[in-house]
């Protein structure tokens, strides 16, 4: 039933659509980065599409992606884009769904912000920026949402180690104090 969504989309924006797929029950459309705003506005305002409800916005980091039982050509290499930003939309009236995916290169991880079209994406784009470092242009206030401002780096990227902590506060008499980076003075018995 949602197959017609993809057909209507490719009919309307033949140049903007890189490719489409219908996998695991979801309709996916890969969109070029520059036409994203136009496609999204059309999807929301067109009565036949009526995608008025946002579902989620996240990003996939394809660094050293090697799917098993698949031809080696699908594995990731430096020439391929590293990030893919995914917007999932759904229509309350027609009850169909679509996922827009935008492929972004590693050095220029920029994407148009859909916060003006659907207010839910305001916070979800801030979360994607906080976790993956994707900069959304003309987003109302793009700053970290989960982590504290002093945090350096983007933790959900594949190259960020899981247990690399950047502590804010520690007890001063800890045996190993990560903030002061040295062992606490040995308590040589209180006088």
């Amino acid at each position: 039933m949602s197959k017609k969504v993809l057909d209507a989309l490719t009919a309307k924006f033949p140049s903007a659509i890189v490719r489409t797929a219908s996998a695991n029950g979801d309709e996916i459309a890969w969109i070029k980065r520059d036409d994203l705003l136009a496609v999204a506005k059309w999807l929301r305002d067109d009565p036949a599409m009526a995608f008025d409800a946002p579902v989620f916005c996240t990003c996939i980091d394809w660094l050293d992606w090697k799917p098993q039982h698949r031809p080696p050509s699908e594995a990731w290499n430096e020439t391929k884009p590293r990030f893919t930003v995914c917007y999932q939309l759904r229509s309350v009236a027609h009850k169909h769904r679509i996922r827009l995916e935008i492929e972004l290169p590693e050095n220029d991880a920029r994407c148009a912000s859909l916060a003006e079209l659907w207010s839910a994406f305001n916070w979800q784009e801030r979360e994607t920026f906080d976790m993956y470092g994707i900069k959304f242009d003309n987003h109302p206030d793009l700053r970290r949402i989960y982590l504290y401002e002093e945090f350096v780096g983007y933790p959900l990227r594949k190259d960020y180690p899981k247990e690399k902590r950047q502590p804010l506060v520690r007890r001063d008499d800890l045996p190993i104090n990560p903030i002061k980076g040295q062992h606490a003075p040995k308590l040589e018995g209180n006088k």
């Binding site: 579902v55 989620f56 098993q68 039982h69 839910a120 970290r144 989960y146």
Partner: protein, 420 residues
């Protein structure tokens, strides 16, 4: 006379506008400074994990800046380092008020990628519906009880806590743990229901029906409760849809959307239940929608008790089920299969998929990217609490500080799910 003139001139300067005589009583007072107050992370109404920087003019909130993230426990990073089966304990702690629904959501997402969605034995589907509806009841009982307590109705809190204890006991008998069950597996459930679960559930539901009626008598027409809840934090239907609201909050605004009915999964098509809808979308409607949903859960559970068939509790697909114990100890192939299944986890074919269930707070979805190994490449949780918290800023605008408490109580923002 000179200084009298200066005095009126000074007042003119200070008030800046009209002449002093024709100002009304209230306008004559000097405009007060706006005070910024922290409604911080460690506050009973904030469920301990949200900080709001409120700019208030006296008691009225002029501007608010919400800071979530105090309970960000890195669900995605942890699940990238765990096998598909090891992710279940992490999903328990996402929405820890209704943990079973998270388990079912994650299991469905992985089964969708493996193409097992419709092939599970009927008994597994019924068990999953039963434990999900019981978990939804504990979610609504805790939400209404806690927000009633925050408004002063401590008795309603204790009544609902008592009934939640009965449910916890039964869930503990089923899964072994009161809160963090980790009971569901990919392709089935860990073990079958206990022998006397039917009688216990009937006994438990009869008692809870009585408790719900008592609390409804106490709260529904209680003047204080209604004044604190009606008209507070109202949200229009269009705002609800545009800001991605789902679940009881969207239904309170009149958005007729329930995943169990609009995108039927599991055995919900065989069960009849109706979806309560509110009109004004304020806190009182959210309360009424949740109470009505409690009754619908009881109705579903009673139908499931009658319709549940017998049968295996795990799909007999070798990829995701353990070999029976007798084979494991006798044949080397089962031994290896058992070992590989435990150590490498369920091998999910490469691909990406998004599956969603009706959680306690609405559409709870898992977006999974699999790369063929036993560990998820990416496991994103679409959490309704995070979306509802983003609308809280608009809801508390122009309300009093005391109104933030019922609004946050009725949004039912759960820290684990909101900050993932």
């Amino acid at each position: 006379m000179a200084n009298a003139g200066d005095l009126s001139g000074l007042k003119q300067l200070v008030l800046g506008r009209k002449d002093v005589q024709d100002l009304s009583d209230t306008e004559q007072e000097l405009p007060p400074d706006l005070m910024t107050v922290n409604m911080g992370p460690s506050h009973p109404a904030m469920h301990g994990t949200v900080r709001i920087v409120l700019t208030v003019d006296g008691e009225k909130i002029v501007k608010s800046d919400i800071h979530p993230g105090y309970l960000h426990r890195c669900f995605e990073k942890e699940s990238e380092h765990a096998t598909y089966t090891q992710v279940f304990p992490y999903t328990d702690r996402l929405n820890y008020v209704s943990p079973m629904i998270n388990n079912c959501g994650w299991a469905m997402a992985v089964e969708k990628l493996m193409g097992l969605t419709g092939k599970l034995p009927k008994r597994v589907e019924y068990i999953r519906v039963i434990i999900s509806e019981m978990s939804r009841m504990t979610d609504h009982l805790t939400c209404i009880g806690a927000s009633a307590m925050e408004l002063g109705a401590f008795t309603a809190f204790l009544y609902f806590l008592k009934s939640r204890e009965w449910l916890y006991e039964l869930l503990e008998k089923i899964s072994g743990a009161r809160l963090t069950h980790s009971y569901v597996r990919v392709g089935g459930v860990a073990k079958d229901l206990p022998a006397d679960w039917d009688a216990d559930l009937t006994h438990c539901l009869d008692k809870i029906v009585g408790v719900i009626d008592e609390v409804e008598v106490m709260l529904n027409n209680n003047k204080i409760f209604r004044d604190r809840m009606a008209g507070i934090g109202a949200m229009t239907r269009a705002d609800a849809i545009a800001s991605g609201c789902v679940g009881p909050i969207a239904r309170a605004c009149g958005v007729d959307y329930d995943v169990r009915r609009d995108h039927p999964y599991s055995v919900y098509p065989e069960l009849e239940f109706d979806v309560p809808l509110g009109t004004t979308g304020d806190c009182y409607d959210r309360y009424l929608v949740r109470v009505e949903e409690l009754k619908q859960c009881i109705r579903i559970l009673r139908q499931c008790q009658k319709q549940i068939p017998d049968g295996p509790t795990m799909v007999d697909d070798p990829r995701c089920s353990l070999p029976p114990k007798t084979d494991t100890y006798n044949t080397i192939e089962s031994m290896i299969r058992h070992f590989k299944h435990i150590m490498d986890g369920v091998r999910v074919p490469a691909g990406e998929g998004y599956a969603f269930v009706e959680g306690g707070n609405g559409e709870l979805g898992f977006f999974v990217v699999a790369d063929g190994t036993g560990r998820p490449y990416k496991a994103y949780c679409r959490s309704p609490s995070f979306v509802h918290l983003s609308t809280a800023g608009a809801l508390i605008h122009d309300h009093f500080i005391a109104d933030v408490v019922p609004i946050f109580g009725m949004i039912n923002m759960i820290g684990g799910e909101c900050d993932k």
